[in-house]
Amino acid sequence: MQYLLMIYQDEKARAQMSGPQSDQLFQEYREFTQGIVTSGHFRAGARLQPTSTSTTVRETNGKRVTTDGPFAETKEQLGGYYLVECRDLDEAISIAARIPSVRVGGSVEVRPVAPTPER
């Protein structure tokens, strides 16, 4: 099964992190990602730019409406993701728990990817 691991954290706190702390976190991410690539769980993953760079697109009365900012204002923001292949939810949870941001107060939402309908 595939799971999307969505990494949420407080962007402001992340931005205020000191240089060495930030470097340390990056290093941990590099090691973590290498680890799940080696173990065969990794399918995709990336860090996202902060929500100050995001744009939301909708359609209202057949007209495209583009607005600045994220879909919803929340205390924690989506900051990155991994797509992983796991045997079951327990395996996905144990991988999610090792994501470096968890150590610094972030949280990870584990969402199963719906299977592609058979044709």
Partner: protein
Amino acid sequence: MNLGELHRREYGRILATLIRAVGDFDLAEDALQDAFEAALAQWPGEGPPQNPVAWLIATARHKAIDRLRRRALVAGKRDELAALLAQPEEDAPVPLDSLRLIFTCCHPALAPEAQVALTLRTICGLDTEEIARAFLVPVPTLAQRLVRAKAKIKHAGIPYEVPGDRMLPDRVDAVLAVVYLVFNEGYSASFGPGLVRADLCAEAIRLGRLLVELLPAEREPRGLLALMLLHDARRATRTDEEGELVLLEDQDRARWDRGKIAEGSALVEQALRGGPPGAYALQAAIAALHAEAPSAHDTDWRQIAALYGVLASVHPSPVVELNRAVAVAMADGVERGLALLDTIHLPGYHLLPAARADLLRRLDRRAEAAAAYREALTLVTNEAERRFLERRLAEVTRARE
């Protein structure tokens, strides 16, 4: 054994094995339901089969195959059917399957109320109406809860497995929490009108026994079973004929269930042996001291206070501190207990002002006691407890005038 008893005793075990075989909760439940209906139709006329459990498993398996065949015709899906047909037939429930089912139902990825409902529905075999009545929720709400939980198990990939060694302690804790929740729901509501709720205590004890049997190397299931038995031994004496609350010190100890006390006490000893004590074992040890004491006065309160102290270090909680303060009041004097109570912060919990009120009453500080009873009355929700607090309030105010 009649069919009803067979359902009570074997439903969960058979279901557990079926779920593993067919790989689907709903299909397994439907097939087992079909099998029990077939038994109801056939056994009275033909007489029950020699091995009713084997008959039920075989019949449910065939019913599952029938259902999958019908589905395969409609949806063109043959994989599940092929997988089931490839499995060897079994004629007895596999104990490991019951354990798998428990861990799946009590998976922390499910909401606590869903864990409880699913455990009672699948392992205990209670029907949706019974569970809804026991937890005082509308039947559709409860049914919806079960549907959602089963959908999550399927779509989120919650495994049907006993967790590995590294995860086992946490997951055992989660299972024990569900069982204790079921017990407390039955126990704290046993003043209420519903007899069904007393049945929850029996179900919880049954689950506790199952866990002790399935996890013989774990000590806390023994601790929890002991704790439940020792509480349950006193259940009949906690209320009088009018349904009014009777305090521990006023309960008729001759009516306590000695069989349950003996069994619980023996389990406590096993649970305390071989390592640092767990939270359930400690609570059970305290309950055993109460259960074995000839009267409230002749209770080893010092030992109880000490055990609460250990419990507070294993499992820090203001409720444990509250209980320790009351035990200290009994062992070392009311003032010492009262001083401890005043350090506890537990907003919204009626038993804190109620305990204060009781200690103040013992010290004959009636005005302060009355104020504390009034505070407790603003927080209490259980009717029997409310009436008890009102009686006490009337006593302290009447005596003052």
